[in-house]
């Protein structure tokens, strides 16, 4: 027992491991990156031609980040993921500091400050916060696994308090940017971490009910929300204003039909769909490759997500399971929200599509996350039937 613990400790403390990484997951990530780059190129072509020095402006930048991102993914995957534990708190502190800093030095994009400009590099502190939540929560839960399973109310409240406090702090800072879609993602990821940590179903039900209640009040109580809901139901009522984006996205998706207009043949990217290379690459996928192409992309995402959970399930320990399920769920929610916005399933909100949307720092952080998953995959116990 003691020996094993020493072995275990050694393993946990060693910086790198040599086990094979999960090849299907890695290949899916690279495949989606490749498809994403091609589609982002097509989507950005007209916008880049009209607004930048070169039609390839976005694709060259994204390409460089992608190569770097894949490299980073492999580097991260070489690490022993237990080695990340001590970094979880500093990461969180860094994220919080950046979230404060961004309020003062953030660059203004559509009336919200979300970016910090490092000269060569723009970074969204909220992206770091997502990773920080996953890492810190995984570390905390792995340290005291049964705490969250507490069913009695007072101890439960006491046990859950630190998590809630961290989430509230992040959400509060992000609300000041404001960045509500980011808050939704952080809270969702936090909730999933707590769920995976064994939070009793009764508390899940309670928090869920409270959350739904709060959402309902928010939606119905403010004019702003009411207007957004109205535009969501019929975007044509404000065609030249807030309805423009959803309408143009619907036009793009609908124009594709079953088999699409053909790669590069989108009409909507010609200054109809605003910044199609950001949040609406998937609309261009639908327009150019049709429903069939869109289903293939979604299927690849599905495989990636399911494979992610498979890795989570087979992870060597709880920390691994928690890390991987957090990262996988974050990826899934982001994909869902982006496609839902593109098809007007939900009101427009600024959520980018993993691997498809333009954005260097975002992509790098995503690849770091993928690297974490692969790192966990390298330590899966040998398959024993």
């Amino acid at each position: 027992m003691e020996h094993m613990d020493i072995e275990k400790a050694k393993r946990e403390m060693s910086r790198t491991v040599k086990g094979p990484m999960d090849l299907p997951f890695a290949l899916l990530v690279i495949l989606l990156n490749g498809i994403g780059l091609v589609m982002m190129f097509s989507a950005s072509y007209a916008h880049a031609a009209a607004n930048t020095s070169s039609p390839a402006y976005y694709v060259t930048r994204q390409g460089i980040y992608m190569v770097a991102g894949i490299a980073i993914m492999f580097v991260i995957s070489r690490f022993n993921y237990h080695y990340f534990k001590p970094f979880s708190l500093p990461t969180m502190i860094t994220a919080l500091i950046l979230l404060v800093v961004v309020l003062f030095v953030g660059s203004d994009e559509r009336a919200a400050v979300r970016w910090i400009n490092f000269g060569f590099f723009n970074i969204q502190p909220s992206e770091i916060a997502k990773v920080a939540v996953i890492m810190l929560f995984a570390t905390m839960i792995a340290a005291n696994p049964e705490r969250l399973t507490e069913k009695r109310i007072l101890p439960a409240v006491r046990n859950i308090m630190p998590y809630i406090a961290i989430l509230a702090l992040i959400a509060g800072l992000m609300a000041m940017q404001p960045h509500f879609s980011g808050i939704v993602l952080i809270l969702a990821v936090g909730a999933v971490m707590l769920f995976m940590g064994g939070l009793a179903y009764r508390w899940i039900a309670l928090v869920g009910a409270l959350g739904i209640g709060a959402m309902t009040i928010l939606i119905t109580a403010t004019d702003y929300a009411a207007k957004r809901m109205a535009i969501w139901r019929d975007p044509w009522i404000d065609l030249t204003g807030a309805g423009w984006q959803p309408v143009q996205s619907l036009y793009a998706v609908a124009s594709g039909g079953w088999f699409g207009l053909g790669l590069g043949q989108s009409r909507q990217k010609y200054a109809y769909l605003p910044e199609p290379h950001n949040d609406f690459v998937f609309a261009i996928v639908c327009e150019e490759l049709g429903m069939v192409g869109a289903l293939i992309v979604l299927f690849l995402f599905m495989l990636l997500i399911v494979r992610g959970y498979w890795i989570a399930m087979h992870a060597r320990d709880r920390f691994g399971t928690l890390l991987v399920s957090g990262v996988t769920t974050l990826l899934a929610i982001q994909t869902f929200l982006n496609v839902a916005v593109v098809t007007n399933l939900i009101p427009v909100t600024g959520i980018s599509m993993p691997f498809f949307s333009f954005g260097g720092s975002m992509l790098l952080i995503q690849m770091v996350e993928m690297g974490i998953v692969l790192a966990v995959s390298r330590q899966l116990p040998a398959y024993t039937p």
Binding site: P145, G257, M291, L298
Partner: protein
């Protein structure tokens, strides 16, 4: 490194199982369930709503630019243009492309160049997502060039641009205005031929469809489609510009001379085809400014009105001046209608024209009504022809009654008075005639109908019926359009004359031609007489009985309907003057309308190439051409003059002619005495033309001859009944060269109808 409290043993297994279950739950939600709504929604948008939304996307991304079709030209029958379309341009701006720093420049520049309101430009410039806002239409070439220069100088391409369009011009202004009509906005026909044949004239506009990006630039890989423009067809009318000109000239003179207050009209018809050669209404309006009130006096009256009633009054005045009196209005034909009563009697053989005599005592009793003749004391005993020449009402009551009410009424129908003629002009009115039941119950109605009173017809109905009497008895459908051609002159459609029905026999027509010529030669129509051209016709005068107090107010409508030449009728003419002035004895068709017909026909018949045929009595006053006799022997000169039909007077003692009067080549009446000078030349001084208005032909001739000028009498010819006086003359009071030929129009005064 395991922390205290980490579950172990079964507890640990339970915890691991819990984790496993929860990962499976997440897999279920995020790995599978999550994709269900996405795929469903995707299917709904991409497949179910594909057609609808894609169409909207395409509509949004394509812009369609109309290409205006050129409107066809309207020609007279000799291909003189009456209405043409000139190329103009439309100045537009694209607010979407206008940059902020150019706004002031554009607003200032365009408002100055095009003389448009600056506010309007600024307002249109504010419609920022538009690409095609019209600033001014119908900009002519010169102005358009200035705008082009302005665009180039200030690099405003795409912000300001011009589009081709067309503008309608009427080269002759008010010429045939009520027939040709005019166009409104968008060049669509509003009145007259322009409206009736709008479809043929306007053609089909073309379209260019271009795919555009959201910023209005052409899409790089997209299509352009053109739909060909089809220019409008040209129309060739039956109207003859020259004939129309004669009709308008003399009608206008008559309207002024006779102080006509409710306008007048003249129609000239080809009796064989029903084609309208001329259709004039005066006062009219300028086709190039149709909304302006042409009547100066009326316009001033209107402008003096308050703003509350002005628009309505203006609108009414416009409608009134646009009315084509020949087609849109009705009038009481009066004695002109005796043409048809006479023709019916002949056709029905209800009288023996050789033996019948009508004794007019000045009044005839019909039931309890006394119907008076216009000649107090009566015409005495008259033959059938004399009754027509005298336009004797009691005689016609007798003739009409003899035909019988049923027959009379059905002939009215046969002559086309109960229906519209179907002429291809707008808003043709129908005659106002009592229904048969009412008509047949009242003997007095039947009596007055026979001389054309108490019912109304349209001028076009009247001339159509007169043409039928003249052309051998066939009622033709009148028409204005003769051909439709494409812009290359290829005939698309040719209108053939349409006979409606045979109304009277050729024999009846034959007799009527002679009788109606007699009405002009020595009857109430004598002022329509044109030497050598055998004008036939009948006058009419009618009180406007449908207007209260018409008699006290002296409201009459006077008219003349006829045709020429009587032995082979070519053209029919109708002159109608509504509410003439002057004194009451002059408000007669014979006095006011007949001379108009005479003047018009005197111009029209030679133009049509009708050769004059002089009757024995007329030969005396036929115009001849003065021969060139200068420098020839007196004897030879005398022979030449005699051969030409002139008498000579020799002045001087020489052997050769040194000068002559009138000059060679001048047309003079054959009664003229030619003067041959054998010593020296004719007097060089000018003479003052004496005023001979109101004089008899003899008096006038003496006065003019004494003054040293020659008289050419025109108008009514002398006859036993006619008391001729000069009604009009050339050069009155002016200085003219010695020996000038002065035309003097004589008019008969005893034309009491």
């Amino acid at each position: 490194m395991e922390k205290v409290g980490k579950p172990r043993g079964p507890h640990k297994d339970k915890y691991n199982r819990m984790i496993l279950v929860r990962v499976l739950i997440l897999t279920g939600i995020f790995g599978f369930a999550m994709f269900v709504p996405l795929v469903m929604k995707l299917y709904e948008v991409a497949i179910v709503r594909h057609d609808e939304l894609e169409q909207r996307a395409i509509n949004q991304a394509t812009s369609s630019y109309p290409i205006t079709a050129g409107r066809g030209t309207i020609y007279d029958r000799n291909r003189n243009a009456l209405a043409i379309s000139a190329s103009v341009e439309t100045v537009c701006i694209s607010p979407k492309d206008i940059t902020a720093e150019k706004e002031t420049l554009i607003a200032d520049g365009l408002s100055l160049l095009l003389d448009v309101n600056r506010e309007m430009i600024v307002e249109r410039m504010g419609r920022k997502n538009r690409q095609n806002e019209i600033i001014k239409t119908q900009v002519e070439r010169e102005k358009a060039d200035e705008v082009r220069e302005f665009i180039l100088e200030n690099s405003l391409t795409k912000m300001v641009f011009l589009e081709p369009a067309s503008k309608r011009y009427y080269p002759n202004g008010s010429f045939a205005a009520n027939v040709i009509g005019f166009v409104g906005a968008e060049n669509s026909g509003l009145m007259g031929i322009e409206a009736v044949y709008d479809k043929s004239l306007s053609g089909a506009p073309g379209r260019t469809v271009r795919a555009r990006t959201g910023q209005g630039q052409p899409m790089p890989n997209q299509y352009e489609m053109y739909y060909d423009v089809l220019d409008g067809y040209d129309l060739v009318l039956t109207i003859d510009e020259t004939i129309q000109h004669f009709a308008e000239k003399h009608l206008e003179t008559a309207v002024i001379e006779n102080e006509v207050s409710n306008r007048g009209c003249v129609i000239i018809m080809d009796v064989r085809t029903g084609g309208i050669l001329a259709m004039a209404t005066k006062g009219d309006f300028d086709l190039n400014a149709p909304r302006e009130i042409a009547d100066e006096e009326l316009r001033l009256q209107l402008e003096a009105l308050g703003a509350d009633v002005y628009p309505q009054a203006l609108g009414e005045a416009q409608q009134a001046q646009w009315r084509n009196k020949a087609v849109n209005d009705t009038y009481e034909p009066g004695s002109v209608f005796k043409i048809f009563t006479a023709a019916m009697a002949l056709e029905e053989k209800s009288v023996n024209i050789e033996t019948v005599r009508y004794n007019c005592t000045g009044v005839i009793k019909v039931g309890s009504h006394d119907i008076r003749c216009h000649k107090a004391g009566g015409h005495g005993s008259q033959t059938f022809l004399e009754a027509l020449r005298h336009s004797c009402n009691p005689a016609y009551v007798t003739i009409g009654t003899g035909i019988g009410p049923e027959k009379f009424y059905s002939y009215m129908r046969a002559f086309g008075f109960m229906e519209t003629t179907g002429i291809d002009l707008q808003g043709e009115a129908k005659g106002i005639i009592a229904p048969y039941d009412t008509y047949s119950r009242q003997a007095s109605a039947q009596a007055v109908y026979s001389f054309g009173q108490t019912f109304k017809v349209t001028p076009i109905q009247m001339i159509t019926a007169v043409s039928a009497v003249a052309n051998g008895g066939t009622l033709m459908k009148p028409y204005v359009l003769s051909q439709v051609t494409d812009s290359g002159g290829r005939v698309i459609e040719k209108v053939e004359p349409t006979p409606v029905r045979q109304v009277v026999s050729a024999e009846t027509s034959q007799i009527m031609r002679q009788y109606l010529e007699e009405c002009v030669n020595q009857g109430t129509g004598s002022n329509a007489y044109v030497k050598g051209y055998n004008v036939a016709g009948k006058t009419g005068t009618s009180q406007k009985r449908d207007i209260p107090n018409a008699d006290e107010l002296g409201l009459y409508v006077v008219s003349f309907a006829g045709f020429a030449p009587s032995y082979d009728p070519q053209v029919a003419i109708l002159v109608m003057l509504d509410e003439p002035g002057l004194n009451r004895t002059q408000r007669m068709g014979g006095y006011m309308a007949a001379p108009v017909a005479g003047r018009v026909l005197a111009d029209v018949l030679p133009y049509l190439g009708v050769l004059p045929q002089y009757k024995p009595g007329e030969a005396m006053s036929v115009d001849v051409t003065v021969p060139f006799v200068k420098r020839s022997a007196v004897k030879d000169a005398e022979a030449a003059a005699t051969k030409a039909g002139l008498t000579v007077r020799i002045v001087g003692e020489g052997d050769t002619v040194s000068d002559q009067l009138p000059a060679a080549g001048v047309r003079v009446p054959s009664t003229t005495e030619m003067i041959l000078y054998t010593e020296g030349t004719k007097p060089e001084e000018t003479v003052a033309v004496p005023d001979v208005i109101g004089k008899t032909p003899e008096q006038a001739n003496a006065l003019l001859t004494n003054a040293g000028v020659f008289m050419r009498p025109i108008g009514a010819q002398p006859s036993q009944d006619a008391i001729l006086t000069a009604a009009w003359q050339e050069f009155v009071g002016q200085e003219v060269p010695y020996g000038t030929v002065i035309s003097v129009e004589f008019r008969s005064l005893n034309v009491s109808d």
